[in-house]
């Protein structure tokens, strides 16, 4: 939706970015991404969830790039076939292309060839960097018009998780990009193992909620509830290993859209690869509700305006997770842009 469209067919009810939404995902299909290292307990967590009322009507997509046999405990099917799991759930293992698999599922659902699933859970292969998966959902041209990532959950084994975080950059990235962190196998690990892992997780990702699960048991809403509200409470600036840091851009006054958009354009052009995940509420001049912005590397999600501010508290709060880009640099660019446009 553009300003030009608003001029052609104006509507007092329509915002700058189209219909104002009650919630971030609007009408899109909610997606939960579950990441975590090999043997961390992703499948156990998922199996438990599928058996709950909240898990009903879930389509599971197991994304196994090249790996085989890891998740046969959940399904036994050849690649890219869809099987019913009971409880209205279905599962598709894709070893080829995630986008293709998801598109096919939507088309088949429309044709009545698949049951009416209401949620997608993507279980990534243990070694996966979640960034490419998040990018898949970033734009309309990809899958962003149909799907919306509500929550990224990363599963960490209490016993060996600490060590894994030490040697694996992928594991650290899984933690850094998560909205929620679930520590598993606390019952079989050493007494203080969970606390030790939790401290490491907190250092890597100070904003994410940390939960513990024994035999995959957690409140099922932790796998479905959007994490956007939680992200807004991020306050700490943290610098991690691998040059990754996180900070919150806070701004009290409404910002002209052009200033923010041009700033992000410049950042994406110059340092797209280092913008790991950026998300938050923007107080845009002239907009009634908050504008939710989201960026994954060089891709920008289409902005979405909500009907109203949560708790009626206005103010820009955007979380940046970046590699070797500081808050001061972003603020400097924003100020320069404000002076220029």
């Amino acid at each position: 939706m553009t300003t030009a469209m608003n001029q052609l067919f104006p509507s007092p009810a329509g915002g700058r970015f189209g219909r104002r939404l009650k919630r971030e995902r609007g009408a899109r299909i909610p997606v939960t991404v579950i990441t975590g290292f090999l043997g961390a307990g992703k499948t156990t967590l998922l199996k438990r969830f599928l058996g709950t009322p909240q898990g009903q009507g879930t389509a599971v997509v197991v994304n196994e790039f090249g790996a085989t046999g890891i998740d046969d405990a959940l399904v036994r099917a050849s690649a890219d076939e869809t099987v019913l799991l009971g409880n209205g759930c279905l599962c598709c293992i894709t070893r080829t292309d995630l986008q293709q698999a998801l598109r096919r599922m939507v088309v088949e659902r429309e044709r009545g060839e698949l049951p009416d699933f209401g949620r997608i859970v993507i279980e990534t292969s243990g070694l996966a960097d979640p960034s490419p998966i998040l990018q898949t959902f970033a734009t309309d041209r990809a899958l962003g018009g149909v799907f919306h990532v509500d929550v990224v959950v990363t599963v960490i084994d209490a016993e060996s998780g600490g060590a894994t975080l030490g040697w694996s950059a992928e594991a650290r990235k899984q933690v850094i990009l998560a909205d929620r962190l679930v520590i598993t196998k606390t019952d079989i690990a050493a007494e203080d193992a969970a606390a030790t892992v939790a401290a490491k997780l907190r250092a890597l990702n100070p904003g994410a909620e940390i939960l513990e699960a024994v035999n995959g048991e957690i409140d099922p809403s932790r796998l479905t509830e959007p994490a956007s509200d939680q992200r807004n409470t991020f306050v700490a600036e943290a610098t991690h290993s691998d040059g990754i840091s996180s900070f919150v851009l806070i701004h009290d006054r409404p910002m002209p859209w052009t200033v923010f958009a041009k700033t992000m354009d410049a950042l994406m052009q110059l340092r797209g690869a280092d913008l790991l995940r950026i998300k938050g509420f923007l107080d845009v001049a002239g907009c009634k509700g908050p504008v939710i912005v989201q960026f994954v590397q060089h891709l920008a999600h289409p902005p979405v305006e909500l009907e109203q501010w949560p708790d009626d508290i206005r103010g820009t709060r955007v979380v940046f997770i970046t590699r070797n880009i500081s808050e001061a640099q972003v603020r400097g660019l924003l100020a320069a842009m404000k002076a220029l446009v």
Partner: protein
């Protein structure tokens, strides 16, 4: 995917709607296309519903708690050949349309009721439209408390073809005890007395007659008239006694006629126009909701249609598949107003909501296809009409047995 795949399913869909309740209305759940919400004096919220066919006339349901709808009153038609397919309420006045199966049958016309005590609707007056060449009133529009705009026959109107008997009539009901006609218009050629040749028949030949007759107080000098096989007319009714055509738009041929409802979106210079599917098994597919650019009301331009699911997934489910009624933004305090979302019924295609914030690319945002209601002869649900109240509660009805469904929008 092969047809015998175990995943193949015609199962219910509930996507971004939340079903709150269903009520089969005491076993008389075959509903027409009249839905109107009244706030009673005691604060109860009553939805008045027209029935598709005899024996029932209308049913009032207390929907103060949409999770627990309760029938307040259900009335009978005096004759088995009558149907009261359409009704509207303004405050405590209700207008009901009576149509008969054949010309010449009685009673046929318009009845006004005092519904200030919802349990005891009291007839105020009856405006007779019966006649040797009339089947009475099929549809009416009433939202200003002053005029009823309706698709009706008349004893003094002889159509040039028997299917073309209902035309536009404007009835002054400012004194509800004495309704009187103040204007009428028919498509040239449809009266036997016209000097114009009758219009050519369409292959399905559903008739050249009025269907929806929408007039909005915010633009009281305009009538948005759908004329079944005759397309859609924007009419100047500043002089009610002398309506004039401003523009005419049709999609048929090559489409298969039965244009049903035109809803202007005034602020946006847009218009929604629906077809009605009237044939089983998708034989008249595609029946669509059309979006028209009305920046120049004299030159409507079709710019998009609301996308339907694949016909192959629906044509064999039973009954009709395709567009019919939409929420019409009636200018009453109890009706939701939206120019961003279109909500329509599609018979076995259920209830569907579309985001039209970009009118060039309407996008489906919610779907409700309930299972076949108990006892339905169609084999599938046949959602017939929809109304959304100002609380954004969605009401939809089945054409055969399912009665009333109440839903929340969740998108």
């Amino acid at each position: 995917m092969p047809a015998d795949n175990p995943l193949k399913s015609a199962e219910p869909i509930t996507w971004n709607f939340k079903l709150l309740a269903q009520n089969d209305l005491g076993g008389f759940g075959g509903m027409g296309e009249g839905m109107s919400v009244q706030i009673a004096k005691d604060g109860r919220r009553i939805i008045w519903l027209a029935h598709e066919s005899a024996p029932k006339n209308f049913t009032a349901v207390d929907v103060s708690d949409p999770r627990n709808p309760k029938v307040v009153v259900q009335t009978d038609l005096p004759k088995p050949y009558m149907r009261s397919n359409s009704l509207e309420t303004v405050g405590n006045i209700m207008a009901v349309a009576y149509q008969t199966q054949k010309m010449g049958q009685q009673p046929a016309g318009l009845e006004l009721f005092d519904i200030s005590a919802p349990e005891k609707p009291r007839s105020i007056s009856f405006f007779d439209c019966s006649g040797a060449t009339s089947r009475g009133v099929h549809q009416l529009w009433f939202c200003d408390g002053e005029y009823v705009h309706m698709a009706s026959g008349s004893p003094d109107f002889k159509p040039s073809h028997p299917s073309d008997d209902q035309f536009y009539r404007c009835i002054d009901v400012r004194d509800p005890s004495k309704p009187r006609e103040v204007g009428r218009w028919w498509m040239p050629g449809t009266s036997a007395t016209d000097n114009v040749a009758p219009p050519p028949r369409h292959p399905l030949d559903k008739g050249y007659r009025a269907h929806n007759t929408n007039v909005y107080p915010q633009r009281g000098d305009r009538l948005y008239l759908c004329y079944i096989d005759g397309g859609m007319f924007v009419m100047d009714i500043r002089d009610k006694a002398n309506p004039k055509v401003i523009s005419h738009w049709t999609n048929s041929p090559p489409y298969t006629g039965f244009m049903h409802t035109a809803v202007p979106l005034f602020d946006r210079n847009l218009m929604l126009v629906t077809d009605e599917s009237t044939e089983n098994a998708g034989k008249d597919w595609p029946k669509l909701i059309w979006i028209l650019d009305m920046r120049d009301e004299a030159h409507p331009v079709s710019i998009a249609t609301c996308p339907l699911p694949p016909i192959d997934a629906y044509k064999d489910r039973g009954g009709r598949f395709g567009a019919h009624n939409i929420h019409e933004n009636a200018a009453v305090p109890t009706a939701w107003q939206s120019d961003q979302i279109v909500i329509g019924t599609f018979f076995n295609g259920g209830l569907r909501a579309y985001d039209i914030s970009n009118p060039y690319q309407p996008k489906e945002v919610a779907t409700f296809v309930p299972p076949p209601p108990k006892g339905t002869p169609a084999g599938a649900v046949q959602l017939n009409d929809v109304f959304v109240d100002e609380r954004q509660i969605v009401y939809t009805v089945d054409r055969h047995t399912g009665g009333l469904y109440t839903l929340e929008m969740d998108f």
